[in-house]
């Protein structure tokens, strides 16, 4: 049962009403439950941010670490004991700003970790500052006149850096997301699943998606299936307000920290 994985005595959680993080946690727990993972052989690791609070609510060993460093801590856990299942929760800021270097190196080493990034386009926990994924023109407390920097495409970054499995979905696509987590876990090596999600409080409020429902509608309407786009686009560029969802890569490059029996 998925709910067995939650620490009942830690509720209520800190997430705002309508936050996308809870949905994503549920999908991940659904996936590990479907796979029959043993709680006692599973470690959740995270950095700092709203997203990174997820492991604390899960009834397994967990490491809630320092901002940006989750992948480096997870590397230590997995390399010291490859028989453990190690799953990382991280945020867009945690993973790609302060933790960007660890991200590309963990992809390059292709360490057998599954990483779920809750990309809400913003620094949620600190009250809505711009992040490396804030789209151009969007408002945050540190981009009051609209973000001017090009954002990262986290999924493409992971592909380029060498990860064995990369997918992107949104908090609207719960079935697909759950399947992607299962596929990522089953792929030996580094698996990266980016999830675009709503932060009504710190991002939505300043960008006309104050209602979680409006935010989810935006995510759904901006998402374009990668398979379909690849078949039909004839090489033209995706409009900048859209993004691709789906599986970006699944391959079997040499990996590290894979348990012997796999």
């Amino acid at each position: 049962m998925r709910d067995d994985w939650l620490r009942a005595d830690r509720l209520p959680h800190i997430y705002c009403a309508g936050c996308g993080n809870g949905t994503i946690m549920n999908c991940v727990l659904e996936a590990v439950d479907q796979l029959g993972w043993n709680m006692d052989e599973t470690v959740f690791v995270s950095g700092i941010g709203c997203s990174s609070r997820a492991p604390g609510y899960i009834r397994t060993d967990s490491l809630h670490t320092t901002h940006g460093r989750a992948l480096a801590f997870a590397t230590g856990v997995k390399m010291a004991n490859p028989s453990l299942h190690v799953l990382v929760f991280t945020g867009d800021g945690d993973l790609s700003a302060i933790g960007g270097n660890h991200f590309i190196h963990a992809c390059r080493r292709n360490i057998d970790l599954t990483v779920v990034c809750m990309n809400n386009y913003i620094y949620g926990m600190t009250g809505g500052q711009g992040s490396p994924t804030t789209p151009i023109g969007k408002t945050s407390t540190t981009t009051p006149y609209g973000a001017a920097e090009m954002p990262f495409d986290l999924a493409e970054l992971a592909v380029a850096a060498g990860a064995n499995y990369v997918a992107r979905w949104t908090s609207y696509h719960v079935t697909e997301l759950t399947k992607a987590v299962v596929a990522g876990i089953q792929t030996p090596g580094f698996s990266f699943i980016e999830v675009r999600c709503q932060c009504p409080t710190s991002y939505g409020r300043r960008n006309k998606y104050r209602q979680p429902g409006d935010f989810i509608t935006y995510l759904r309407e901006s998402a374009v299936l990668k398979d379909r786009w690849d078949r039909s686009s004839a090489g033209e560029e995706l409009p900048s307000e859209k993004f691709l969802i789906g599986e970006f890569v699944r391959r079997s490059r040499p990996a590290m920290g894979v348990p012997d029996e796999a």
Partner: protein
């Protein structure tokens, strides 16, 4: 054997099976030796992308129950500070070797210094305590590194071997015992919460994967490990315990050598300056001198300073502009002469003799 290699051998003898590091002079030989040896012992050597990651990786590894270590020098040590605080807060046993070089900044990569003695104690933010050892011979590089693992496991804190370039690169003949004493952390008893202290203020340890479902966080937490960061009483009791579990036993765990308790002029020394002091005190022309050689600098065992009933002045020769001399000064009523020296060279014996002679003739060096 070279000092750095002796550190690595000490770690291996102590059963260290995980090393994460990033190359930096003058510590690199530690990593190179571990890279050569660990894979042959089913251990893991991993060269990380930087020292922040190295420190993170050894903490992650330590939670799987293995003995984990990193080695670095000044610039890398500065990068490790945040995660050192995490190891303190999460009570993670781990060992760091700092082969000190001249700073600030990139400074003198190939020259000896002891300029990180305050950084090791106070460098990470917040109130805390750690354990720091300093070798003065290659033999001590071996012995104190092995000992550092026992202290880390016993006290569940990061333990530092504060070597310096001279000791790290010096070659001396050493004796390697067939085995070294190994003290692993006391286990987390059945029914005990993972961060509930026992009488010694230290909680029992259970590794990840052993069914105890431990939530580890750097946030102020309760005995279950759950965050509780806005409760003043919780924070105070946790942080005081983290300090007290080390500070209250500082006299019983002190590691030192005292020569000539009757001395009037007493050197307080650690690391490579100990060698110069030993030569000076043995010289016939500097009678009335003695020394306190500290192998464990932090926690600071100030009661040892009262072991010299006739002392007229303490002299603290160290490779910085006066760090441990200030600590000595805090605890005594007689003059404390800081004989700090920077630039990368050790004190010449005559420099120290001159200080004693000046004091004896009533002058103030």
């Amino acid at each position: 054997m070279q000092g750095n290699v002796a550190c690595a051998e000490g770690a291996l003898a102590a059963g260290c099976t995980f090393f994460a590091g990033y190359p930096i002079t003058p510590s690199t030989e530690v990593a190179e030796h571990m890279a050569a040896k660990l894979p042959k012992r089913k251990g893991c050597f991993i060269q990380m992308e930087d020292e922040i990651a190295s420190m993170a990786a050894i903490i992650g590894a330590a939670w799987t129950g293995v003995r984990a270590m990193t080695a670095t020098s000044g610039p890398g040590f500065s990068l490790m500070m945040e995660n050192i605080g995490y190891a303190v807060m999460s009570e993670t046993p781990c060992v760091l070797i700092n082969v000190q070089r001249g700073g600030p900044s990139t400074g003198q990569p190939t020259m000896a210094a002891q300029g990180d003695m305050m950084q090791v104690r106070f460098g990470s933010h917040g109130d805390f305590s750690i354990i720091a050892l300093a070798p003065s011979t290659v033999q001590e590089c071996f012995e104190l590194t092995a000992k550092a693992f026992n202290l880390a496991d016993q006290f569940r804190c990061p333990v530092f071997l504060m070597a310096d370039e001279v000791i790290g690169h010096m070659r001396e003949r050493i004796t390697i015992p067939d085995s070294v004493q190994i003290v692993r952390p006391k286990p987390l008893q059945e029914g005990m919460l993972p961060f509930a202290p026992e009488d010694d203020l230290i909680p029992g340890f259970a590794a990840f994967g052993t069914g105890r479902k431990i939530p580890v966080t750097g946030l102020t937490h309760n005995e279950k490990g759950y965050p509780d960061s806005t409760n003043p009483a919780r924070h105070e009791s946790l942080v005081r315990r983290l300090v007290d579990k080390i500070e209250t036993v500082r006299h019983s765990i002190a590691d030192y050598e005292i020569v000539n308790e009757e001395a009037e002029y007493v050197f307080v020394c650690y690391g490579s300056p100990v060698r110069t002091v030993q030569e000076v005190v043995q010289r016939a022309k500097t009678p009335g001198t003695g020394y306190l050689h500290l192998r464990m600098i932090w926690p600071f065992p100030e009661q040892l300073l009262s072991r010299f009933p006739n002392v007229k002045a303490f002299i603290v020769p160290e490779l910085n502009l006066g760090m441990i001399s200030r600590e000595v000064e805090r605890h005594v009523c007689v003059p404390v002469i800081s004989a700090g020296k920077i630039g990368g060279e050790l004190h010449a014996p005559d420099e120290l003799v001159a200080i004693v002679e000046q004091l004896r003739s009533g002058g103030c060096p």
